[in-house]
């Protein structure tokens, strides 16, 4: 039999745990079917938007150099570490009001520049020498780059700063301060739309609009599309192909930087191995939407977010990954070039 040894102090903690009587801990249990569905939609939408943001950066590079960029998620991970370092060094979690908002905007911008530069550098060092090599060699280089970035994250996590828990456990997950408090922004019945949910929309929508504008209407955007469609012809037009590729790595990376900050604020956890899932989701979203297709990536991201939420909610969490991949495979069997994809060049 259990023999409880309870001292006064421990009893006090227990009493605290039961402060308002047992029922107060019970989850509401009053959510109606519709409320549950709406709550799941909110969750799915927010997660989907974050995935979409990572995926458009991913698909941009993907469309141009045909590189399955395994390092993209890990780039986002380093972006999150950069943001956490900045937050810790400047004590940003204590900033409130207008200062806090301005700080957040500055943080987004700084992280974007950081990730963009990093992505540009990785391209310059690891991928550019392989431009004429086969696509598979490029793939292996990307796998290698992913490992290197993961390791940089491990080093970074051991930085003796308070936000990295003094650096004593480099590998452990770190809490990201709640720059936007996870409080309800508004509630509809018992459905909570939290402030981070709102933040996700506020950041991702303008970025997607901006990117669409950039790609469709600016000279650089058109050059990017031209290089993606036929690099030799683009070079014959006087387009500096390498520069355009570099620029798209920078832009794609900086979108990853934005995504990293939003992700960190939304989930409040960063860890050196989190890039795997971020990259994987982005990859699935990009392919699902059609390689190199920006609206497709957004659609794919939203779909994955929603499918995950619905599967967690109505099937079983342990089957969620299978459900996502199952749907992906089904879609590709019937639409072999993704939802919005153009016909694929037949080349591996």
């Amino acid at each position: 039999m259990l023999r409880a040894v309870a001292a006064a102090e421990q009893l006090a903690i227990l009493a605290l745990a039961r402060a308002d009587g047992v029922p107060s801990f019970a989850a509401d249990g009053t959510l109606s079917t519709w409320e549950v569905l709406s709550q799941q939609l909110v969750t799915g939408l927010s997660n989907g938007m974050i995935i979409a943001l990572i995926a458009i950066g991913y698909t941009m590079v993907y469309g141009i150099v045909e590189l399955i960029n395994f390092a993209h998620g890990d780039l986002c991970m380093l972006g999150a570490f950069f943001a956490l370092t900045a937050v810790g060094a400047l004590g940003m979690d204590a900033w409130g009001g207008a200062g806090g908002t301005l700080g957040l905007v500055a943080l987004l911008a700084a992280t974007a520049v950081f990730c963009g530069s990093l992505n540009w550098t990785v391209n310059r060092l690891a991928y550019r020498p392989l431009r004429k090599a086969s696509k598979l060699s490029l793939l292996v280089a990307a796998i290698g780059a992913s490992f290197v970035l993961v390791n940089l994250g491990l080093f970074w996590g051991g930085m003796p700063m308070e936000v990295f828990s003094g650096g004593n456990s480099a590998a452990a997950p770190k809490a990201f301060p709640a720059l936007v408090e996870p409080k309800p922004a508004f509630t509809v019945g018992d459905v909570i739309v939290s402030r981070p949910d709102v933040l996700v929309l506020c950041v991702t929508l303008p970025l997607m609009a901006g990117l669409t504008w950039l790609v469709r209407f600016t000279k650089l955007g058109k050059a990017m599309r031209a290089v993606a469609q036929n690099p030799t012809a683009a070079a014959l037009m006087g387009i500096d192909v390498e520069r355009v590729i570099g620029a798209s790595f920078f832009i794609g990376g900086s979108l990853g930087g934005f995504a990293a900050v939003v992700y960190s604020i939304y989930n409040q956890t960063v860890g050196f191995q989190m890039g795997y899932r971020m990259g994987m989701d982005a990859f699935i979203a990009a392919v699902l939407g059609g390689i190199g297709n920006l609206p497709g990536a957004v659609l794919g991201g939203l779909l994955i977010g929603l499918v995950r939420a619905m599967s967690d909610g109505y099937i079983e969490a342990r089957w969620t990954n299978s459900v996502v991949f199952g749907i992906l495979i089904l879609i590709l069997v019937f639409r072999p070039s993704g939802l919005l994809g153009a016909k694929l060049r037949e080349k591996v």
Binding site: K219, K222, R225, Q229, A233, A235, L236, V241
Partner: protein, 242 residues
């Protein structure tokens, strides 16, 4: 042979190019003078397209490539275009998912004078009115002949002083071939454009060229004026089919 006097606009000397261990150009020499139409004929696989790609610096090569008296053999491709040497590549290489208008804009990528670009675009539309009709269609939806017109128009958009055209008649309906050759002869030439033309259709090419070179397995084997070569028995035997 009767090369005109004066400084050539393009001079290629000892151009060599290899893929892996296989050398495909063994030292090509050719010259194009201002205002000339020069054609480069030869069988499939003789190295005609490779020569143009080397001049445009898409392929790496050895030997000397001079444009306007300056060595361009070490420049990146975009610098070659900036110097005024544009190419209409083989197979047209239209950007299939850019609109016709955007394709033309890409041709003017090196320029930033918006008004002049707009004027030039109108000029291209004047030469090829069909492009104007199709201006908001995606390039990939055009017919072969229309794509060829677009490719020529696109190359003109960089305001080149010299144009290299690679097989403009390939895979195009005969009616449109006539139209394209007509454009080359009567519009471009009239504007004083210098042209280096690669063509399989030796007969048509020689008829409109001032001079021509015959390329065989990576080397120039014959050169002369268009008429000389049209009369040359070797050429008649090998390329004109009689």
């Amino acid at each position: 042979m009767s090369a005109p006097a004066g400084r050539p606009m393009l001079r290629v000397q000892g151009l060599k190019c290899s893929f892996g261990q296989a050398e495909v150009l063994h030292g090509v020499h050719l010259e194009v003078h201002p205002g000339e139409i020069v054609s480069l004929i030869g069988a499939n696989g003789a190295g005609k397209s490779t020569t143009l790609m080397c001049i445009s610096r898409i392929h790496r090569s050895q030997g000397r490539i001079e444009f306007d008296g300056q060595d361009i053999g070490a420049l990146p491709p975009e610098q070659v275009v900036r110097r005024g040497l544009a190419q209409v590549p083989e197979g047209r290489r239209i950007f299939p998912r850019l609109t016709v208008r955007e394709n033309l804009e890409m041709g003017a990528f090196i320029r930033s004078d918006r008004d002049a670009i707009a004027q030039d675009m109108e000029r291209v539309f004047g030469i090829f009115p069909i492009l104007k009709e199709r201006s908001s269609q995606q390039g990939g939806t055009l017919s072969g002949g229309e794509q060829q017109m677009l490719a020529i128009g696109r190359a003109l958009m960089s305001r080149p002083r010299m144009l290299m055209m690679d097989e403009p008649s390939m895979g195009i309906a005969p009616l449109l071939v006539a139209k394209i050759f007509d454009t080359v002869r009567n519009v471009l030439r009239a504007q004083g454009m210098t042209i280096l033309l690669v063509e399989q259709n030796a007969n048509a090419a020689l008829r409109m060229s001032d001079r021509a070179y015959v390329l065989e397995t990576g080397s120039v084997v014959l050169a002369g004026t268009g008429e000389e070569l049209l009369r040359d028995p070797r050429v008649r035997e090998a390329y004109l089919g009689h």
